[in-house]
Structures are given as C-alpha cells and as structure tokens.
C-alpha cells in the first residue's frame, strides 16, 4: 500500500472527496428526481454544445500560450512593482461578469479608448462582437490565472537547480531542455484543463460579446431549460454533458502531465543567472508591458468609472460588502479544510477519482447545483436562513479545482523528498503536518486561500437563488443597483468589490510568501 511508507494517510482526503462528490452529484440527482419527462436535447442544444467547445478550446489555448512568456518574464525578472503587478493581475478573474465586460468595452468597444485613438488616424472603430470578442474577454479573465499557475511551476524549481545550471554554464537551449520544458510539460496541461473548464460554463460573456444567439453556450441552454421551459430533465441532461466534457478534459490533462519533480532544495530564494542578455531583457520587458496594458487598462476604466459613485452608494451596499467579506472568509476556511486532505490523498497516489471529484465544482453548472441544493434543503429547513452558509460552501467547492492544482504538485514533492526521512525520525501525522508539510506549503496555501477568497467575494452563482431582501452579497447588490438604473452607484460598488477582492488576495498571498523572493 502506498499509505504505509508515508507519514500521512490518505483516508481523510478520500473521505472528504467522497463528501464533495456526494454533495454535488446529490444536487444534480435532486434536479433529476424533481424532473418530469422533458424534451430531451434538440438540434439547438447540439449547436450550443459545439459553440461552447469551440470557444472554450480557443480561450484555453490563447490564455495558456500567452501566459507562458509572461510567466517566464515574471520568473526571470525582479523589478519594482513586480509584486503589485502579480496581485493586480489576479483582479479580472474575480470581477462580476458585467463589470469586467464594461471595463473591456471601455478599452476595446465601439466607443472605447482604442477606437477613439484609431479614429484620430481615420480608421473605423473596432468590431469586438463575435467569437474573437468572446475569446478576448476570456483571455482577459484567465490569462492572469494561467500565468500564476505557470509562474508557480517556475518557482517550484529549486534555487539549487538554477545555481547548478549557472555553474555548468548552461546556455538558453540547455536551460530550456533541462529545466523549463519538463516543468511546462507538467504544469501546462493542468492550466489548460482549468481554463477550459471555466470557459465551458461561461454564459453572459459569450452571449454579450458573441453578438447574438449564435453564441449560445450550454450554460445558456441550461438557463433556458430552467427558466423559459421549466424543463428540469433537460437542464440536468445538459449539465451532464457539461460534466462529461470537463471530466474528459481533466482526464486528458492528468494523463499528459507526467514527469518527476525537480528534487528537494533548501527552500532558498531563487536567484537567476540566465536571461541577462539584451535580447532576453527586451523580450521579457515587451511581454510584461503588453500583458500589463492588456489587463490594467480595462481595470483602470473600472476604477475611473467607479470613483464618482463611491460616495453615493448607500448603507445597503456596505452591508452587502460585509456579507461578502464574511462569506469569503468562511468559504476560504472551508476550502482549506477540504483541499489540503484531498491534495495529500492525490499526492499519496490516490489521484484520479479524488482529483475528478475536485473538478466537479467547476463542471456542474452553478444554476443546477443551486437548484439541486434548494430542492434538497427545502423540505428540511428554510433556504433563506441558510443562504450565507450554503453560498460559502458552494463557493469553496467552486475554487476547489484551482486549489488542488496549486497544492498537489508541491505536496507531492514534499512527500517524495521528506517522507522517508520523516518516517525514519518517526515523524508522522500531526507532527509531520506541522513541522514539515505546512511550512513548505505556505506559499501555495496562501495563493490558494487568496484565490478562494477573491473568487468567493465576486461570485454571484448561488446567492441569487437563496437570497432574500436582507441577505445580499456585493455582486448581487451591484446587479440590483444596475436594475434600478443606478449605474453610477453600481460602478462605485464594482470598484469597492475590486478593492476588497484584491485586498483579500494580496494579504493572503503575501502572508504565504513572507520569507520568499523579495
């Protein structure tokens, strides 16, 4: 048994994974159970499935391919504001969709900054609506995430390896072959799968920037089945299709991502001796400036639009912000309690099923999870009373796949390198956890917690189904403001959300990396 030779057991992780799977699949089953015989999947749904796949594949490819040089530049360069840039880059991911879209349009839209600039030279305004608009927006959302996942891969190469490479005078190609390419082979498939899964359930982005019903995604078809036709059977069926697609992508990614780690180091800060040539500097600089402009211009548009509204928001927005902070906090704790044992179980070789159950949170449509939980909770308790806890738990499940991707490689490495030594010292269980694993995992825990907190802060999924008039989160309140014509106050709320999420992310992420890499 893999368990016997290790200081930790996989039992906990397996149990937690089973609970996660039971909760999500149970919600799906509840929807099926309540369904009457429906229409089944029609030709329009197949068109939606095709479009969903195409945009998700393109979005994943562009996000990850563009992220590689950006992550490499961030790994090689040390400059003033690097930390802030990394934190800022996390921002788009957690914004409510409509806010992010308005930010993108302020830059790339028909009357956006770029179109205005082009107009000065007599060009036509940009045409953003269409498949390219969808992909552009998805890259805006996911490039930062992909960059962070890949950057982490770079940072997990021990400092000693770079020192060694410098000592043997490894040139660019050797460096690539020895260190970078094997690392990317491990990290890139997972990043592709995660971005693919996120884009698979996209709906408002695809519809708004896709330009019309051509850009129908599975998620919109689920929405239609639920709201327009009240055909729960079809909603569940389509959700099943989404589940299969995500699962297939995850399996492929897990298969492809092979290779050993890079061995243990002494956890020293990484120093790089490569990439000091003029060409490399220019290349890295260009990548960083391009990525920063691409991500920061829309964000600045959101800030500029939000400043005048900050004062006119009213007490209910601040109250909603309090709710959001509370949910984010609880959700982050829940996430860590779930993700750590699961990551250990995966690292101990109980991979496949545990990791798959971790992906379920992304794979099953939030609308279906929410509806299913509603059906389950309704007979035994008041759904409104449970709005906040349910939202916190579901948000934790949504960020679980990211947390696992962040934690697993490092846990695996720590176990592989320190497992036997610890056993020979009779360090196991809690002692191993406290003395060996957690300290080495701190940067990853910080990153995962920061991402979970930020994601949860910006999430709109389940709360919309459970909230009554008193319990609203900040994103929901922003939508309500917009629904009441108060666009200025809504922009203020969006800016507040941006600050809160980034603040949470920055504090947790920094807290995790306090000693490393200044």
């Amino acid at each position: 048994m893999a368990d016997r030779a290790q200081p930790l057991r996989s039992r906990w992780g397996l149990g937690v994974a089973a609970c996660v799977a039971a909760l999500i699949l149970g919600a799906l089953a509840a929807v099926v159970w309540r369904a009457e015989v429906g229409r089944g999947i029609g030709p329009a749904d197949w068109a939606a499935i095709r479009f969903t796949l195409m945009q998700a594949v393109l979005s994943a490819l562009f996000s990850v391919v563009l992220a590689v040089p950006v992550a490499r530049a961030l790994a090689r360069r040390r400059f003033v504001g690097r930390r802030v840039l990394i934190a800022l880059m996390g921002a788009p991911f957690i914004l409510p969709v409509i806010v992010a879209i308005l930010g993108i349009l302020a830059v790339f839209g028909r009357s956006g900054w770029l179109s205005d600039l082009l107009g000065l030279f007599g060009f036509e305004p940009l045409q953003i609506y269409g498949l390219h608009g969808v992909v552009l927006a998805h890259v805006f959302f996911n490039l930062p995430l992909a960059t962070r996942l890949i950057l982490q891969g770079w940072q997990e190469i021990p400092a000693e390896r770079f020192r060694l490479a410098a000592q043997i005078n490894a040139d660019r190609r050797a460096m690539w072959q020895l260190l970078e390419a094997p690392m990317l082979r491990q990290v890139v498939p997972g990043a592709l799968a995660v971005v693919f899964a996120i884009c698979l359930s996209s709906f408002a982005v695809a519809l708004t920037l896709g330009g019309g019903p051509r850009a129908t995604t599975i998620e919109l078809a689920i929405y239609q089945a639920f709201r327009f036709d009240f055909d729960l059977a079809r909603a569940a069926l389509l959700s099943g299709v989404q589940l299969l697609l995500t699962g297939a992508a995850a399996l492929v990614a897990l298969r492809v991502a092979t290779g050993e780690g890079f061995g243990a180091g002494l956890d020293r800060p990484v120093r790089r001796w490569d990439g000091q040539g003029a060409l490399a500097r220019v290349l890295d600089g260009t990548c960083l400036i391009a990525a920063a402009l691409f991500l920061l211009l829309p964000l600045s548009a959101i800030v500029i639009a939000g400043l005048p509204g900050l004062l006119s928001m009213g007490a209910s927005v601040w109250l909603a912000a309090g709710n959001s902070v509370l949910i984010a906090g609880v959700s982050t704790l829940v996430l860590l309690a779930i993700a750590l044992p699961m990551a250990v179980a995966v690292a101990l070789g109980r991979g496949g099923l545990v990791e798959l159950s971790g992906l379920l949170g992304l794979a099953v449509s939030p609308l279906v999870i929410g509806t299913g939980l509603f059906i389950l909770i309704y007979p035994v308790a008041d759904p409104f009373a449970l709005a906040l806890p349910v939202t916190a738990v579901v948000n934790a499940l949504m960020s679980l796949p990211f947390a696992l991707r962040i934690l697993i490689p490092r846990v695996r490495e720590v176990l592989a390198r320190y497992g036997r030594l610890s056993l020979s010292l009779d360090m196991r269980g809690g002692v191993f956890l406290r003395r060996v694993l957690l300290p080495r995992l701190r940067p990853q825990i910080g990153f995962a917690a920061g991402l979970a907190a930020a994601l949860s802060m910006g999430d709109l999924g389940v709360i919309a189904l459970f909230a009554d008039s008193e319990t609203a989160t900040l994103p929901l309140q922003i939508y309500r403001l917009m629904g009441a014509y108060r666009m200025e106050a809504a922009s203020g709320g969006a800016l507040l959300l941006l600050c809160l999420s980034m603040g949470a992310f920055y504090i947790l992420d920094r807290g995790g990396r306090r000693h490393a890499e200044t």
């Binding site: 839209g109 519809l207 330009g211 709201r227 009240f230 309500r480």
Partner: protein
Amino acid sequence: MKHLVLAAGLLGATAAYADTPELIVYTYDSFVSDWGPGPAVEKAFEATCGCDLKLVGAGDGAALLARVKLEGARSDADVVLGLDTNLTAAAKETGLFADHSVSADYALPFAWEDATFAPYDWGYFAFVHKADAVAPQNFGELAASDLKIVIQDPRSSTPGLGLLMWVKAAYGDKAPEVWDGLADNVLTVTKGWSEAYGLFLEGEADMVLSYTTSPAYHLIAEEDASKAAAVFDEGHYMQVEVAGKLANSDQPELADQFLAFMVSDAFQSVIPTTNWMYPAVTPAEGLPKGFETLVSPEKSLLLSEDEAAALRDVALDEWLTALSR
C-alpha cells in the same frame, strides 16, 4: 426559580411574536431593493395590517415563476407579485393560484378581466436613444437604417421575450421577415436588462430595448433630459405586471388584504418613481412631474395570455433562425 421565570418570559415573548401573522410575498429583485418600491410598500402595508410583511426577491419575473413551480404546493409564499401577461398562462397551468377579489378603476388602455391575477403597473416597451439623435418611426425604418441596437435574450429575460411578442403582435406571420431585416442592426444580445442598458449608457449602441418610461428616471432622478424613447407607428407592446395569491396560502385573508392594498393610493403612488412604470390605478395626485414629457404611443399592442403562450415557442424559433444566420 429564576430559570423558570426566564423560560416563561421567553415563551411569552415567542407567543407574542407568533401572534403577529406573517405575509410572505415573492417578487423580483429590483422590487425589494432599497431603490425599488419594496421598502415604502412594506412600511405602508404594515401600518395598516397588523402583520409582518416579508418581501422575498427571486431574480426576475421568469425566475419567480420557476421558483414557485419548484416549491409547488408546499411553498411558504402567500402572494406572488411580478409576473407579466406573457407568463400568466403558464402560472395558471400550475394550479397553484387562487382567484382574487380585487376591483379597481384601472388606468390601463384596455379593460382588465382576469380572475386570478390583478395588475399593479404597466408600461410600453420601446427603444431608448439619445434625445439629440434622429430616431426611426417603425421597425421598417430601423431595419433600413444602420443604427445599432442592443436587445435582451428572450430565453433569459422578460423584456427580451416582450420584444418577440411585440414583433409578433405587430406583424404576425411576417415576423420572420422583420427579424431578417433587423438582424444586421442587432449589435448584440444580453442576458438581462441591466447588461443591455449598461452597454447603451457606455455608448456602445445607438438604441436599447427598454421602456417608454426609462427617460423619466434620467429626467427626474438625475435631472438629465438627454434620453428619449422612439415612438413606432406599428404600436407598442405592453408589459402589464400582475400579482396573484397562492391557493395554499396560510394567510388567505391577509393575502386578499394585500392585493386590495396593492391597487390603493399608498401603493400606487410610489410605483412611478421607484419601479419607473405607469401605475395601474392613477394616484390621487396624478403622475409625478416629468411623466408628462414621456412619449405616448397611439396604439398599444398586447397579446392575450393564451395567444402569448401559444406563440412563445414559434416566435423564439423564428428569432433564433433569423439571428443565427
């Protein structure tokens, strides 16, 4: 002993609390928000009913119906407020609603005869544009122009469904040709009203599907007269928003009392400047200043709930076909 006194006190308090009956009204989100009619309505009704009015927001009109269907006969709700006439046929089909006993002198452009649902406000769908721009006079002119419009997806939004019904009511079997003509004017389609209106305000599109009353918000709340609604000579489709009581309500008298209150002055007078729609019964003081500047269509269009229900799937198919090309 002390414990006993405390326990008795607590029990007494609970009993006193339980004596106040609770009336639960499901409605859409923007109704319950601080800026909607919810807070004023709650205060005014609680002042007269000796009860606790609980307004629960559940998405928009379509989500509201889905919610009621999901909960079925066991629902805690006593009243559902916020369906429109495109949804009432489906709502009646559930058998969950009971007849009402409301009568009022409605200010609707037609006689209201519905035993199950009573109206509380109404409005005309219209394309809102910048006041200084030249607006088309009908769908034909719009199709011939190179104006760009933002509309909402009928599958996820009630105004989006309203536009389908508008074209259907005005053109019947010719609706597919109208959509063919409009296809190149549709800049994009959004999930809901908020997204579409946001895009319009950002300057992305020349016009947005909204209501003839939208300019009133800008005029009255923002003192900004720069928005106007285009009048189409085919007529304008109406949205009539209604409420009904649930057959399984445990507070049937209170529910009736609430529906009667709904068409009273206290409720109706807050509608124009909170829900930004026309009140179903003109308040004693008339419409607020600024509403007289709004355009008023010569002809109002409204399909009966049965026609609307029967045409819904056909109209959606026609729309999808024309815009997916």
